[in-house]
Symmetry: C2
Subunit: 160 residues, 2 copies
DNA sequence: GAAATAATATAGCTAAGGCTATTTTTCAAT
DNA sequence: ATTGAAAAATAGCCTTAGCTATATTATTTC
């Protein structure tokens, strides 16, 4: 009659992978916590590359969020070592920030391209990729890349 | 020098779809808010089908979360009309709850099968599907289904 | 039917991510 | 150089989702 009988009970009645599911949920909760950080870092990198500066107002406007919300989040990014900030001056990515941004950008690109490649419209692909990218493991990304490569080569084959 | 010049500025310098991106982020934030509700309803449906009852302890154990956390969430599910609960008795899905559960189950199934079909291992597919399912729009799900159907039929063709 | 056990409920804490309103600082323009 | 506008910082609020500890209610067992 311990806690563990619940698991046993489940196994007998057909819910085979109870502990595995626990892990999925844990993993997903973890991902959710890092999603925002990734969104910010990715966006900041975009703004820096594109306009040379990433101001709070720009970030806020892009995310559709109020400026103090951004200010608070930037403190978190600083404490986690992804950005540097000088009061009333700009925001800069640290090495770690740049690495994370690159990773996110690549991942985002793969997911979005992949969705398009299976026939999802560009607009929907953008929206869905925004949410899905954070949950795509390296293994899944590899599968997406394989698929993209295969599709590209078969398109070439069809032409030639 | 209004707020809108930022958008204009971005357009000129290459970040073409600033307002579209705002919408993506908004959409994603919205999804994140409903994810937990969906996870709970889906899990409750599973437990009910499988064991005939969905107790707080079971849900807590499955989600890897403490029982009071579940209790609090169940209140939200009640107020949103997805479940009914009698003190110290079981939890039951309302019609709305059952509809949502069916929708989630189907969506989950499609995403997980799809990942497997492009070569992702079952374990990774389960984990990634758990996170990705909530961000797959109807259009993307349709694309997944089309792909699954095509893959299935080509497998049959290869055999015949 | 009383005691022990298990499940649920409740109280009260934390952290995160939103918000508005306000103050401080910087920058630009006269 | 001063002023006015824009940006950033700060204060203080809310909600959600997590936690622990504890009280309450059912259920089971003797």
């Amino acid at each position: 009659m311990t806690q563990h009988d619940n698991v046993g009970h489940d196994v007998e009645t057909g819910l085979i992978d109870a502990d595995a599911q626990v892990e999925s949920f844990r993993q997903t909760r973890n991902n959710r916590r890092t999603e925002l950080v990734e969104d910010y870092v990715e966006l900041i990198a975009d703004l820096l590359v594109d306009g040379g500066e990433a101001r709070q107002v720009d970030i806020a406007q892009r995310l559709g969020v109020a400026q103090p919300t951004v200010a608070k989040m930037l403190k978190r990014l600083i404490s986690e070592g992804y950005i540097q900030q000088r009061r009333y001056r700009g925001i800069f990515l640290t090495d770690a920030g740049r690495r994370l941004a690159d990773l996110c950008r690549e991942r985002h690109q793969i997911v979005e391209s992949f969705l398009c490649s299976i026939g999802v419209s560009p607009e929907t692909a953008r929206i869905d990729a925004e949410g899905m990218e954070h949950h795509a493991s390296p293994e899944t990304l590899e599968a997406f890349k394989r698929f993209l490569a295969r599709t590209a080569s078969s398109r070439i084959a069809a032409q030639g």
